[in-house]
Symmetry: C2
Subunit: 143 residues, 2 copies
């Protein structure tokens, strides 16, 4: 199949497929006489593997590693696979925590201007300006 069909079947844009090839995540396929890429079933599965990992938020470098385990002797221990997943879980987890703190801070800031005002009276702008001048601010200091 051509790149467009692979794209349609996987829901991944042609340009992204070419990008994955350049990045060494997908093997370069055979070419037709006119230079068009010709994909087979294994390419589709490899791409699906990549997309599945991406949907789990894994970085391309980790996916490269994960894919690489297929080339290794099957009797090897799989602890590095587990470590990659654990790493990803902890990355995601700490992002969640950081964003939750952020949301609270933003809501505290937002509460400073709950009814419509003018720029001069806006509690949000005042808070931000005050913080810039070194004062305590609703969003960061009154935890």
């Amino acid at each position: 199949m051509q790149i467009g069909e692979l794209a349609k079947r996987t829901g991944c844009e042609s340009e992204t497929i070419r990008y994955y090839e350049r990045e060494g995540l997908l093997p370069a396929p055979a070419r037709s006489s006119s230079g068009y890429r010709r994909y087979e079933q294994p390419h589709l599965e490899q791409l699906a593997f990549i997309l599945h990992c991406r949907s789990l938020g894994m970085p391309l470098a980790d996916i490269r590693l994960l894919a690489g385990f297929h080339q290794q002797p099957a009797a090897e221990p799989c602890d590095r696979v587990n470590a990659l997943i654990d790493q990803q879980i902890s990355r995601v987890h700490s992002q969640i925590e950081a964003l939750q703190k952020l949301e609270i801070q933003l809501q505290q800031l937002r509460a400073r201007c709950d009814s419509p005002h003018t720029l001069a009276d806006c509690g949000i702008l005042k808070t931000l300006d005050g913080a810039a001048a070194g004062e305590a601010c609703a969003c960061h200091d009154e935890s």
Copy 2:
């Protein structure tokens, strides 16, 4: 003060300060005879304003807008300020939701290999491979 001192006082690297100047977030300061940037107190406050907003995860484009409100007549309504903060809150909120789903999916995947195995037996790799071949997977399908 020179850029290095501004950097030290704000905890922002000199290169980032120059970057903000290039991006039009900080006004270009006066220069010494040898071309060194000379900052005054207002620059420090402006930079602190930017850093404070950044610490709330606001994109530079929004910070530019927020800073721009200082140049506007003080009697203008501040609803666009509020809208920017609301937007940021909803961005952060939907990121949190997406990451929480991700974490659950990752943990379901991780549970497929809770004790050490070989690559051949690794429930994680098997799940990922199966998903690539079109099977249902622990992480996405058994919600």
